[in-house]
Amino acid sequence: MASEQELDDFLRSVERRAFKRTAYTVRDDEAALDIVQDAMMRLVERYADRPAGELAPLFQRILGNATMDWFRRQRVRNGVIQSLHEFAGDAEESDGDLLERLEILHDAGVEGSDTAVSRRQVLAAIEAEIAELPLRQREAFLLRYWEDFDVAETAQAMGCSEGSVKTHCSRAVQALARALRLRGIVP
């Protein structure tokens, strides 16, 4: 069972990323704060007896569910038909060498974030493009590379197969790379 200190440390380590991830999805900071608090409460109410090592995937799963619940409530409240699952319907990327080109530019220091635009503008652009990703792609990408989950953990947190995670990640990377390239940004 996770001790109070372990739970505190865990929540402290994930709360900011959880907020940002939720805010990218719901695009409302107040709602994102409420959702994160709701997820924290659900974690304690249901899984406080779990060891500290199991908290991360559980919390990500709960956060995802809490976000979906928010969308459902919004849909009921507003009577607006809103897609809960923006499953990737985008076409397969054909320019597989895009990342390589970005890599070359990055290694060469060409069009670097410090020289092309200010750091803050780069951050804003990256966040905007992250927010534009379809939901599942964004979740897979952020869990894999920001939360540092492996494919299996990401699949568990998202409730899908490992193959789906790889597909979502790949598409997210391609979409982000293209969008940032168009903005003249090499992350």
């Binding site: 109070e4 704060l33 994160v36 409460m41 304690v44 990055h106 966040e127 992250i130």
Partner: protein, 142 residues
Amino acid sequence: MSSTPVPHPIDDKLQARFGQRVATHLDAAAADLPPQTALRLERARRATLLRLRHERQPAVSLVGGGGARRGPPGREPLWQRALAWLPVLAMVFGVWAIAEFQARERARMAAVVDARLLTDVLPPAAYADRGFVEFLREGGAP
């Protein structure tokens, strides 16, 4: 002849490097939250820990001089769960007692009426006579 696309061998590594670089930027964005937002998150965390403390604190026994009892909530001993049924049992017993009392009262009243009819000088059949009813309606005067 159609050919299936061959996965790029370095795609995974490139993706990972790209993802990590984006994540570095996102870390910077997360570290740069407005103070008000950071405060709200801290409050949420504190409220959660308070809830945890509440969930884990020993339940206080209702009887036995306030002695503490360890155990998860909702796992009261049998006698405590039986106590919870007492009000329901009391209500059922009360409804049954009222129904019983009313039945006995109706029987007693019927017995009183029967006794009066039988002990009266007037035979009960007289009440079935139309002429006698008219006699009573007119005041019973001869």
